[in-house]
Amino acid sequence: MVRTEFHIAGVHFKNRVLAASGTFGYGDECTDLVDVQRLGGIVTKSLSLKPRDGNPPPRIVETSGGMLNSIGLANIGVHRFIAEKLPRLRALDITVVANIAASSVDEYCAVLDLLEEAGGAHAYEINVSCPNVKEGGLNFGTDCAMTAGITRRLRARTRKPLILKLTPNVAQISTFARAVQDEGADAVSVINTLIGMAIDIRTRKPLLSTVTGGLSGPAIKPVALAKVYETARSVHIPVIGIGGISTPSDAIEFFLAGATAVQVGTANFIDPAAGVHVAEGIATWCTTQGIDDVGKLVGTLDTQGGVSVLESWL
């Protein structure tokens, strides 16, 4: 038997493959099609204090090997999540990571407090790719001081694992990772979607109602892998790798680059059982390789003979 489990700040995950936020609903929608209990965990859709309707259509457009989305964080709000979804998730044997989004630091705190009081979520993932209403819509996640500030405020309010989900749309993601580590974050998730756009040349109109949106899917995997590699080399807390993972070998690449665990996102839209297939495929691969613990893959990239980014001119 291959050991698949791992822990973040004392919280147990059955295996190293989780469903990514916003790509698996609240975890209770596709129980017809997949036994979610075979996942390492479920990260919920981002929860805000009040329900959010989201952006007008079109919210999605397919691109080469990927897709753009501008959902606008449409969600049922933390109160309905606690009342309707948490009881169903509690009935399952699954580690639940509640993802939080907000438009002010106070809102992040309020959502976290409500979830703490309700109990049932095992860990929190903080989506900082949200406009800060007080700062004229500047994205929290692209400002290192704001990202660190959110971490500090939330750290003071919970002892459960606090995972900061970082945006790749910054000059150097590792600076942000170090900043949240210094404020007591237990892990970082890398990456959220990349800003992108697509245009209909006939109408000369953007294909998303918001003009730009977030790129995800296989197309972003090489970018995500490089961000995970960069981050894992600069922090000592676990890095959760996200971006374009749809097969076991995709996930193994992330482990080698330094990810402690991974999340499967867009691939769930093609097959809601994608995460389970990835998790089981990893274990099978380890068996064939004589590896008795998936964790033994983490950060074992062989860069001997390679040239460091610092020394190379691209």
């Binding site: 698996f24 099609l33 859709k45 919210r59 999605i60 090997g65 296989p218 867009t266």
Partner: protein
């Protein structure tokens, strides 16, 4: 909701660029209701990446059929599907038409272009329920009309090559004179501009009307929030096309 590998029975061209695809799927055939759709993986590579949604056209024993127009990569791949091969399909999805409401006698089925897709399966259910069925079809030109497995068909073409020279909504106006057919209910499917015109027609005639919408989808099963349909009443409140629809009462939505 099932996730199956279905054996392809045949792909048949029924009009220029229009194909009927039949596959063996007993459980799906038994479960599907008129107006529901299936989400088909059209390739095993990254192009196209996402599944493609298609209304169920007909069921025949253990077989399920969809009808589609070749418009891009996914439908091109489907048109080349080989009998004996397998397709990865999720379905039945969404909420269908409310056909068995006792408060109406005559179902007026209205299809624009490939909007004919859900009408044969609806016709079969309506016949079973003992309703009178009238079908109004519109197409760009006569050669694009697909009229099989329907009842009481009247047609309109944009170029006047058959039937009424005009749109299918013009045909509806002609077929349903003011005041007559108060016991009728409209069920429409087609391109968005046609459905918008149909909704307006139904509103002015105070007729109940359900339409099957088309639009972008990513997951088709309610987990991505990618398919909003604006609800009437409050500004910017949305239902999900894939889960709450694709069929809606025109009273409830902004088309």
């Amino acid at each position: 909701m099932l996730h199956i590998l279905a054996r392809v029975l045949h792909v048949t061209s029924v009009a220029p660029n229009v194909y009927v695809l039949a596959f063996h799927a007993p459980d799906l055939a038994a479960a599907v209701r008129p107006g529901q759709f299936v989400n088909i993986l059209t390739g095993d590579s990254l192009q196209p990446l996402l599944r493609r949604p298609f209304s169920v056209y007909r069921t025949e024993g253990d077989a399920v059929e969809v009808i589609f127009q070749r418009v891009g990569k996914g439908t091109a791949a489907l048109s080349l599907a080989q009998p004996g091969g397998f397709l990865d399909i999720i379905g039945p999805l969404g909420a269908g038409f409310h056909l068995d409401d006792p408060r109406y006698q005559t179902a007026v089925l209205i299809g624009g272009g490939l909007g004919v897709a859900p009408l044969p399966i609806a016709t079969a259910a309506l016949q079973k329920a003992g309703k009178r069925v009238v079908t109004l079809l519109g197409a760009r030109t006569a050669g694009q009309l697909v009229e099989t497995h329907l009842e009481n068909v009247h047609v309109a073409t944009d170029d006047g090559t058959r039937g009424l020279h005009g749109t299918v909504v013009d045909l509806a106006a002609q077929y349903l004179p003011v005041g007559a057919h108060e016991d009728a209910r409209l069920f429409g499917c087609g391109p968005t501009p046609m459905l918008r015109a149909l909704a307006e027609f139904a509103r002015t005639r105070a007729l109940e009307c359900e339409v099957s919408l088309e639009g972008q989808m990513a997951c088709g099963i309610g987990i991505c929030q990618g398919c909003p349909v604006e609800l009437t009443g409050q500004l910017r409140t949305y239902a999900l096309m894939c889960k709450d629809g694709p069929v809606f009462n025109t009273r409830d939505i902004v088309i």
